[in-house]
């Protein structure tokens, strides 16, 4: 079928297979930050935003995104890099394979929750699995980032 999907502000007017998932669509057009980690919607690696809301692109039909705005890590590069520096300052990225999905969930959380408690944070991010880090390094990075609020200085939305 024919779809018009806007990815990070760029419009894609494309013919796609009806059963194509958003993940495949995005990788096909070069958004390689989007990773697949499972086949059962359990890992969070493929997290992107549709109309600003974090969703699992592995299970989101590309057809459903017709007419909608999709954001990947590539579309929030500067903010991601800013949070990424907090991650690397802890060594918490380790293999890095879960990092893009995790960062997309974190940046969405920051927009959705004001001054979240530790419990709200872990509940929000519980679906983003990481096998390397044991999560403590991610938590330290998050805490420092939420404390410093670099997005305010950097003038990001």
């Amino acid at each position: 079928m024919k779809v018009k999907i806007t990815v990070n502000g760029m419009l894609y007017n494309k013919h796609i297979p009806n059963d194509m998932m958003l993940l495949e669509f995005l990788r096909k057009y070069g958004y390689v930050s989007v990773k697949r980690g499972c086949d059962t919607s359990n890992c969070g690696l493929c997290t992107v935003w549709v109309e600003g809301k974090p969703v699992l692109s592995c299970s989101y039909p590309a057809a459903r995104a017709d007419g909608l705005h999709v954001t990947t890590l590539e579309g929030v590069k500067d903010e991601a890099a800013s949070f990424g520096r907090y991650m690397t300052a802890q060594g918490a990225e380790q293999c890095g394979y879960c990092s893009p999905g995790f960062i997309m969930a974190v940046l969405a959380m920051r927009r959705e929750l004001t001054d979240p408690t530790e419990e709200e944070i872990s509940n929000y991010l519980a679906g983003n699995l990481c096998r390397c880090s044991g999560y403590a390094g991610q938590t330290r990075a998050l805490r420092a980032w939420l404390h410093d609020k670099p997005w305010e200085k950097e003038g990001q939305a």
């Binding site: 890095g96 394979y97 699995l129 096998r131 390397c132």
Partner: protein, 761 residues
């Protein structure tokens, strides 16, 4: 020692690329016109293929080739990534007429895209003679069903196996008269413990792409921990000369041992050879669970005896291990069960460690962080905790009075000397951090919730003694920066960074002046690979040697240009100067430029290799505090403290995260991760929906501290960290649960159901 780069918290060199979502992993680099490869797999645990009809499938538009057992080289090999000659038996073909587990490959299908491949796969008709499988590893030995009856089964050397008996390997190691020592003990604990075939579950599944280059050489880009072993095994299995194979390792999305065995490599490689076209395979998560490798499932029987005062006088351990359908890493993982657990208590004790590893019709096991030591630790440490109870002693005290001493030989550890150990300090620091004195054995929270604490200690190795080999080349480039070339494989652990830290320390230059890249067997120096906790210790020592040599060469070349005696020349990282007249100097930039142009050029490089005769153990003490709901059995780890002696900590952040991550995996193994097979041999926990690895809300904020000893044989005093960190959670949590509930769970995982139903008995 005044260290600038080593022992610091330096960010990973690839951190910005990884968190920036750059296309640096295998699948991100696949060429556009790549064939898609998928594998048709056996639905039966044990069967012989009667016939395969593939003609209709071959006619599906877009299909390039369909390969079956008749189309592959009849060469036995092992997929284990081990140094040659491998101890693992050569018991595989790429495709074989007999299938030995649900998931064994039956046909390789390659085509233009996944749709045509899927269509073709559906059209392949396979008829099987279904054979009865042997699924229970406790009944596999001498079972009438033989998993490997083939004639061309091959060993390089005797590992105590007997294929007709389903025995992959067996053996015994002992010192002293264990029977007599046990008989003389005041107290003996005699228990049997079970561990499961855990999945490594790294986030990036197995994947490989292959192509022929302009010289018709087979290029293999793959997510592997063992590029050099990969090259050798691919050449053997495909019947190619080794010089016709090149292996490239880009960034890897985790391995944890899974990628110390070849898994996905041979399928696209064979397709590329047959078609001349590039080919790729990407495993689904389910394939990664069902058709790769896992931890060895084990039953460990421990008898440990002590005198009333707590002196341990005898340890007798027998381990039975399930190799599954193929023998990768079977004879070596089993060794660590005893060799990394008994030495902690054999200082004054007779010991015996015996083992059997058996074939069954379940998925082959392989390497998983801890590599047998983890299973042994659960059994040995649980038995020690039970012994402490019988002796009415604090389990920490019991350990403190039996631990090996620095300077002594450890009979149960291949007779290697103990050259560094701060385990007693680890125990004491851990007790303090967890609040042992106030919390042991348990504290009631309310009418139905109790908190209990438990502990365990462990050791691992640092590389495989006298086998693991690393080579390093460091080059001084024009402009005075360095290229560090290694064959060790960073799989997210950060070894590229820590090895660069060592180079920066020796060459006294900022980190920015050192570049490191992934592994390419055409260009990187030989390294056995990243496994057996070898990289920091073995490759690190090679880095120190090579960089020291290059520093000397720079000083000598500087002396030549300054016209001074080499002994007067000093290299401070930025310039070479005359010690007696520091004004007389040449900068590194200038020197490096001069070295590559004109008369008297001398491009400076240094290459060094290292192999350690011993494997100095790192140590760790782990302390768990759990809260158990006595009415439901639900157990939550509310605090976990790990105190590690890995010698000098090379990178404070990365070592900490290694420890935190290892502990989290250990918590998963203790409480959640439960591989099961149905009666037909089909794995039932083969997705993240059914095989639960810990998520953020399943683990506490793990707390880690270091008690740094100085290992005289290690680079900058370092030992290893990668594996030792996974071992303690299972026994520590089992004891904490016991202290909270009175229920001893000796069979992992420790589920709420086992706890609650155990309370009723």
């Amino acid at each position: 020692m005044n260290l600038k780069y080593v022992n610091q918290a330096i960010p990973k060199l690839d951190g910005a690329a990884l968190t920036g979502g750059k296309g640096v992993y295998t699948e991100d680099m696949v060429p556009r016109d790549c064939l898609v490869v998928q594998v048709l797999r056996s639905p039966h645990a044990h069967a012989r293929i009667k016939s395969i009809r593939k003609d209709a499938a071959s006619r599906v538009p877009g299909i390039s080739c369909i390969l079956t057992w008749e189309d592959v080289p009849q060469i036995r090999y092992t997929l284990a990534g081990q140094s040659y000659p491998e101890p693992s038996p050569y018991d595989r073909y790429i495709l074989e007429r007999t299938v030995r587990y649900v998931g064994d490959p039956v046909a390789i299908v390659a085509g233009r895209d996944k749709d045509c491949v899927a269509r073709a796969m559906r059209m392949i008709q396979v008829k099987y003679d279904i054979l009865e499988p042997v699924l229970d590893f406790e009944t596999a030995l001498d079972n009438p069903i033989v998993v490997h009856p083939e004639e061309d089964y091959f060993h390089h050397f005797d590992i105590g196996g007997d294929q007709k008996r389903n025995l992959v390997s067996s053996g015994c190691d002992s010192d002293g008269d264990v029977e007599a020592a046990l008989a003389a003990c005041d107290v003996v604990v005699d228990r049997t413990y079970y561990t499961k075939a855990n999945a490594q579950a790294m986030m990036e599944t197995f994947r490989t792409y292959t192509y022929l280059d302009y010289n018709r050489r087979l290029n293999v880009v793959t997510s592997t921990q063992v590029p050099f072993h990969c090259r050798r095994t691919i050449a053997r299995a495909l019947g190619l000369p080794k010089n016709m194979v090149r292996v490239v390792k880009p960034r890897i999305g985790g391995g944890f041992g899974a990628k110390q065995t070849l898994v996905s490599e041979l399928f696209p490689a064979l397709v590329t050879l047959r078609t001349g076209k590039p080919a790729k395979i990407v495993y689904t998560r389910k394939e990664s669970f069902q058709a790769s490798n896992s931890r060895h499932q084990m039953r460990v029987h421990v008898k440990v005896g002590a005198m009333k005062d707590g002196t341990i006088k005898a340890v007798d351990m027998h381990a039975l291990s399930n190799a599954g359908a193929y023998g990768e890493h079977a004879s070596t993982t089993i060794g660590l069960v005893g060799h990394k657990s008994i030495p902690l208590y054999a200082r004054q004790a007779a010991f015996r460690f015996s083992w059997d590893v058996v074939y069954t019709n379940t998925m082959a096991a392989g390497a998983f962080r801890g590599y047998g030591a983890t299973q042994g630790c659960f059994a040995m440490e649980s038995a020690i905790n039970e012994l402490a109870e019988k002796l009415n002693m604090d389990p920490a005290q019991l350990r403190l009075m039996n631990l090996p001493h620095v300077g002594e030989n450890m009979a149960a550890y291949y007779n290697e000397p103990l050259t560094s150990c701060k385990l007693p300090q680890c125990i004491e620091r851990g007790m303090e951090m967890i609040g042992w004195k106030g919390k042991y054995p348990c504290v009631k929270v309310d009418d139905h919730r109790v908190r209990g604490v438990g502990m365990a200690v462990t050791m691992q190795g640092s590389g495989i003694s006298a086998i693991d080999t690393a080579s390093v080349t460091i080059k001084l480039n024009d402009d005075g920066y360095y290229t560090l070339m290694i064959g060790a494989t960073d799989m997210g652990t950060g070894c590229d960074t820590i090895l660069a830290q060592m180079a920066a320390e020796i060459l006294n230059c900022p980190m920015e002046r050192i570049t490191v890249d992934g592994v390419d067997t055409d260009h990187s120096p030989f390294d056995t690979g990243s496994y057996a906790s070898s990289t920091t210790y073995v490759t690190g020592a090679a880095v120190v040697k090579a960089c020291t040599e290059l520093g000397e060469k720079i000083a000598a070349e500087g002396a030549r240009r300054l016209n001074i005696h080499p002994e007067r020349a000093e290299f401070d990282g930025d310039r070479v100067y005359d010690r007696t007249n520091p004004e007389n100097a040449v900068t590194l930039d200038k020197l490096a430029q001069d070295l590559v142009v004109g008369e008297g050029t001398q491009w400076l490089t240094a290459t060094a290799s290292h192999c350690s005769p011993t494997s100095p153990p790192p140590f760790m003490a782990g302390f768990a505090e759990v809260e158990v709901d006595l009415e439901t059995g639900e157990t939550r780890v509310v605090d976990y403290v790990g105190v590690v002696d890995c010698g000098t900590v090379v990178n404070k952040n990365l070592a900490r995260v290694q420890a935190e991550g290892g502990i989290a995996q250990g918590i998963g193994m203790a409480l959640l991760e439960d591989i099961n097979y149905d009666p037909k041999g089909q794995m039932v926990n083969s997705t993240f929906m059914t095989y639960k690895i810990p998520c953020r809300t399943d683990v506490p904020e793990i707390r880690v501290d270091f008690e740094e000893s100085y290992e005289p044989n290690g680079p900058f005093g370092a030992k290893s960290i990668g594996e030792v960190v996974i071992n303690t959670p299972s026994p520590a949590i089992a004891q904490a649960v016991y202290n909270a509930t009175g229920v001893r769970v000796r069979s992992l995982p420790i589920t709420a159901e086992k706890i609650l139903m155990g309370r009723e008995i």
